[in-house]
């Protein structure tokens, strides 16, 4: 398959400011920084897949040219969280001078939501001590997870969810390059399913394209339904039918298969409760129980016990009895 050997999420990642879709105001300000050859520390906040990482990569390219990788350190706080990373990796990188004719290096810290408070506290000093040689760009989904002292040291950029026009534009660029045929209805469903997450759009598109270059709504939903199996509603229905043992088995399977934490699963259960065939009063009752279970998971030690307790209370309160 032509051009099929690369992941599209990389292939179609914007290389220049002009490639970036949406976020016009943010792009303008960043362009200004590049022009002045200086930037403050940055804090990018916004939902997943709108282009936060892509944009900082563009900035790095614009600043450092071809050698951008030498002056750019990317860390994922959700993989390398904890204070040691801040104390070792980040400090080591920040300590040395930038290579080539540039005033500073950039450290990009992705998914800072999951950075522990201690690590953030440690980061705060580091950011000040190395301003001569290094600029930080932090990215997160919610700025409220970032401690105030860090927020006050950064220029904050709030990324909004991409609107339908921007998504359509991106889909069309991919379609033109890859020789796909995609109709209006399919674009609409892609937009709905992805919630404006471009990474998801491109992955679904590439998955569809491996099956068929003519992409329609049906194909998209086939791919998505494999990716988003109705497993949670399945075991909830088992619980509603009063079969605790079967529901429990299914629940453990799901957790292990998808590597879900207890809190992850409670979140999904709580969403799916709205789709259960019970009356509204029961739904509210169940959601209250979810809240209690989530609290207990946070407070307790064995999340599976807590989930089973939730399940047992669903079985007890199931309308079939």
């Amino acid at each position: 398959m032509e051009g099929g050997s690369k992941l599209w999420i990389e292939k179609f990642r914007p290389k220049t400011f002009n490639d970036v879709k949406g976020h016009d105001a943010i792009v303008e300000r960043l362009k200004g920084f590049v022009k002045q050859q200086n930037i403050p520390h940055l804090l990018f906040t916004g939902p997943a897949g709108v282009g936060k990482t892509s944009l900082i990569l563009v900035v790095a390219r614009e600043f450092f040219g071809e050698n951008w990788r030498q002056n750019f350190l990317e860390l994922n706080a959700s993989d390398d969280r904890g204070i040691d990373v801040v104390r070792n990796t980040i400090k080591d990188f920040a300590r040395t001078k930038a290579i080539g004719n540039v005033p500073f290096k950039i450290i990009y810290l992705d998914e800072c939501d999951s950075l522990t408070t201690e690590a953030q506290q440690a980061l705060r000093r580091t950011m000040e001590n190395y301003t001569d040689s290094t600029r930080f760009c932090l990215s997160c989904n919610y700025s409220s997870k970032i401690i105030d002292p860090i927020q006050s040291r950064c220029a904050i950029f709030r990324f909004k969810q991409l609107n339908k026009d921007a998504i359509t534009e991106i889909i069309n660029i991919v379609a033109d390059n890859e020789g796909l045929k995609i109709d209006e209805e399919a674009i609409n469903s892609l937009y709905e399913i992805s919630n404006g997450d471009v990474r998801r759009v491109q992955n679904i598109l590439q998955s569809c394209a491996s099956a068929n270059k003519n992409i329609n709504k049906k194909l998209i939903y086939e791919i998505v339904s494999v990716a988003e199996p109705k497993e949670v509603i399945n075991f909830l229905n088992l619980a509603m039918a009063g079969d605790f043992l079967a529901a429990r088995k299914k629940m453990l399977d799901i957790m292990l298969k998808h590597g879900l934490s207890g809190v992850d699963l409670v979140k999904q259960i709580q969403k799916e409760i709205w789709n259960l065939g019970v009356n509204d009063a029961k739904k509210v009752e169940f959601i209250e129980k979810c809240g209690e279970a989530e609290f207990r998971i946070v407070e307790g030690s064995d999340e599976f016990i807590q989930l089973e307790s939730l399940l047992a209370s669903f079985v007890k309160n199931a309308p079939s009895r």
Binding site: L7, E74, I223
Partner: protein, 386 residues
């Protein structure tokens, strides 16, 4: 009623195998001497005091480890008792049990207060401890008559157990009682408790169950107590004496509860088990070990009391396989992550995000060319696809 309570000696004569000690004890009390009873656990020290009091119509004032026993408390509680005449002019006996336990921050000064009490009291004071030769008792020993309660012989224990079995209509094998007696090392109370646990349904079940290395059997016994019965006192006792860890018990209960309970009962039982786990979490976070009581009680008594009626159905208990499945899945995960980590740096996203995205990318990774370009080998790709 627990067997230990039922067969507690009512009179001094019934205190088994301590004839010399009890007669000395009685003499001393009649002479209004203070007494220091000592000896190992469960051979009748405290029982003798109560038996004697009953025999001679004495009133008992007891201060044991469950009370605060610092200087002030002891003064407040006993200070007046030792001087006042009793309401009906009866004699009094003052019992301070478990004085080995009198130390630490909460009982500060308590021990120093005792010699003064001994001097002032017009009533005999009985002190009880395991080891009277501890140096902290130096000021106390010389003011009291020391009476040792000897460790009970195995044979004596066997005889007592036999007697109880006969009265309770429990069928027993001689050898089983001997093993049981040997195991408790002279502790009669422990022996009777063990007997109670083993003697379900009028039959002494396999005594080897009590051997600590047979934890599998041990846990089945405990599970039965909790899931089939409602004798909370017994469950508490058993949970105190067992070598099984609470974590292990949690797993067993978790696996087997749904087989015994259903609906309301199951919900309630899980509620208690979950609450018990919350207390465990709190212990871990705050290192506040007093919560252990709640973890313990909610797990044992909470689960047991969730049933409406005693269950008679036959259930074979199984060990939970949850830990194993989690382990297997973790192995898979770590292999998958190893594969991912080879190309992840080029994708500018975290492992977590990529794994999230992976289910949308299955079709992409079935494409050989994509795998090649990312340098993923065929046998590695299966970890991405499952």
């Amino acid at each position: 009623m627990l067997l230990v309570d039922k067969y507690k000696p009512k009179t001094l004569k019934e205190v088994y195998g301590q004839d010399y000690a009890t007669s000395e004890f009685k003499k001393a009390v009649l002479n209004k001497n203070h007494v220091f009873l000592h000896g190992s656990n469960g051979n009748g020290k405290t029982s003798s005091v109560y038996a004697l009091a009953r025999d001679m119509g004495y009133e008992i004032f007891e201060l044991n480890a469950s009370d605060y026993r610092n200087k002030e408390e002891i003064k407040n509680i006993l200070g007046s008792v030792i001087k006042q005449r009793s309401l009906f002019n009866t004699n009094k006996l003052i019992l301070i049990d478990e004085i080995d336990g009198l130390s630490g921050s909460k009982d500060r000064g308590g021990l120093q207060e005792i010699p003064a009490l001994l001097d002032e009291s017009i009533y005999p004071i009985v002190l009880i401890a395991n080891d009277p030769w501890n140096s902290k008792f130096n000021g106390i020993r010389k003011k009291c008559k020391l009476i040792e309660f000897k460790k009970l012989e195995n044979l004596a224990i066997v005889n007592i157990l036999k007697n109880i079995c006969l009265k309770e209509g429990i069928k027993y094998g001689e050898i089983d009682l001997k093993i049981l007696a040997a195991k408790v090392k002279g502790d009669l109370r422990a022996a009777i408790n063990d007997l109670e646990i083993l003697a379900r349904d009028g039959q002494l079940s396999n005594v080897n169950l009590l051997e600590p290395r047979q934890t599998k059997e041990d846990i089945l016994l405990l599970l039965k107590l909790i899931l089939k019965g409602k004798n909370l006192a017994l469950i508490n006792e058993a949970m105190l004496n067992t070598d099984i860890t609470l974590d292990e018990l949690t797993l067993w209960l978790d696996e087997n509860m749904p087989k015994e309970y259903s609906n309301d009962e199951l919900e309630k039982a899980y509620h208690y088990l979950a609450k018990s786990d919350v207390f465990k979490g709190r212990i871990i976070k705050r290192q506040y070990w007093r919560f252990l009581t709640y973890q313990n009680t909610l797990m044992g008594c909470g689960v047991a009391s969730s049933k409406k009626e005693l269950s008679k159905k036959f259930v074979s208990y199984k060990r939970s396989e949850r830990i194993l499945s989690i382990w297997i899945s973790n192995m898979r995960k770590s292999k998958r992550n190893a594969v991912i980590s080879t190309f992840l740096p080029n994708l500018h996203m975290s492992n977590k995000k990529f794994v999230n995205e992976l289910s949308y990318m299955k079709n992409i990774f079935m494409n050989k060319k994509v795998l090649e370009s990312l340098d993923i080998k065929d046998e590695e790709s299966k970890y991405l696809l499952t």
